[in-house]
Symmetry: C2
């Protein structure tokens, strides 16, 4: 039995465009891999030799300047696609934030397979378009929002994207409480702020009773409406 058949993201990842026959073929060129938190799958500037699907976990995409400033330019979740098919070098590194499982392909193999399966390319196109939309929305946050608005927006997005499909509760209800897959420094690198500013905004939101912080890695949204107002 191929690994794909029992894959938890089988129906959500780009693989959902393939029938059993095709899936079997794809399975022969891919392999599973586990990543520990902090482990990287690719590095900024290297040529793009791998692509992958996220099966489980949360990973960051990040770039930096030569003098060490870092910016997280994307966050990927289960069923998301990673890497840069069709030539060029990858402009950002990919690093696991939590323990993660991914399904890896050599880019060459994947490119060839994709070119023969338009339905797969179509799914990939849809995903890429959606990712571009999300990324552009994030530019508004980076360019025009205040620190408070940034953190509030971030927490709201997080609460929406961390929902596991097929979990208890109404489908796709944003979470009220969740474990942050980010350190304070990483939150700062997502929002284009310093760690101190992020910390101060966290404590402010808590002091105002809008969120609660059971531990450093957990967040409870106490008053979602107020948090939405804070997000600007």
């Amino acid at each position: 039995m191929s690994a794909c058949e029992t894959c938890v993201v089988r129906n959500r990842a780009i693989c959902s465009s393939l029938d059993d026959e095709e899936l079997k073929a794809l399975n022969t060129i891919g392999r599973r891999r586990t990543l520990e938190p902090g482990e990287s799958l690719m590095w900024e500037g290297e040529d793009s030799v791998l692509v992958a699907n996220v099966i489980d976990g949360v990973l960051k995409l990040s770039t930096g300047t030569e003098d060490g400033r870092e910016q997280i330019v994307g966050v990927v979740y289960p069923s998301d696609f990673i890497g840069r098919p069709f030539g060029s070098t990858s402009g950002h590194g990919v690093t696991a934030l939590t323990e993660s499982r991914v399904c890896i392909f050599s880019r060459r193999d994947f490119d060839a397979f994709a070119r023969e399966h338009p339905a797969l390319e179509h799914k990939l196109l849809q995903r890429t378009l959606a990712e571009l939309d999300r990324t552009r929305r994030w530019m508004l946050l980076l360019g025009r929002k205040s620190a408070g608005e940034k953190l509030a927006s971030f927490l709201l997005e997080m609460s929406e994207r961390l929902v596991q499909p097929g979990c208890v509760g109404a489908p796709d209800t944003p979470l009220k409480r969740f474990a942050l897959p980010f350190s304070r420094q990483q939150v700062a690198d997502v929002l284009g702020l310093t760690i101190e500013t992020v910390s101060r905004q966290f404590t402010r939101l808590k002091a105002e009773g809008i969120i609660d912080l059971p531990s450093r890695r957990e967040v409870t949204i106490v008053n979602r409406q107020a948090l939405e107002a804070e997000a600007g």
Copy 2:
């Protein structure tokens, strides 16, 4: 004779994936349109009814907050594709900066056509992937760079993207002198700054002899190396 056959971007836009026969079919569902500077082709939040190819001119993609802050999230040039195929609403407005010519399709027609022409979808995928790369690089600028670095990076990118293919000089040499398609306010909206800060950085770069400003809408790069150093 179909308009496509004489189209100046015929070999660079996504249409380059099509043979004469297919191009003729595409031609029947598209039409040309001219836009004056300031004229919009689509608006933020409306559902995506149109897509288009840019034939000539420069257009901006922009979003804003409710309280009127604006952020330009993309700039498109001849041969670029505009709009959001395959469902959803467009997350940003599209407005001409210079007089522009575009080749418009109803999204429904275009979607149907694309689904039947995998080579076209493939081109579109490549373009979308490239645009996503560029957008992510821009996030580093918005999140982590200083005003001076931002303006320098902007001018350098501008000098590269404004080159007309098939023009005099070594192919694809960045321009030394060019007309800015942006007002100062629009530059500010690209860089996530205020108009005053942009103005001060312009005068500083000029005072330091790195650039020259023959007029408010023209820029000469006097010392490219220094400008690259300023870009961080």
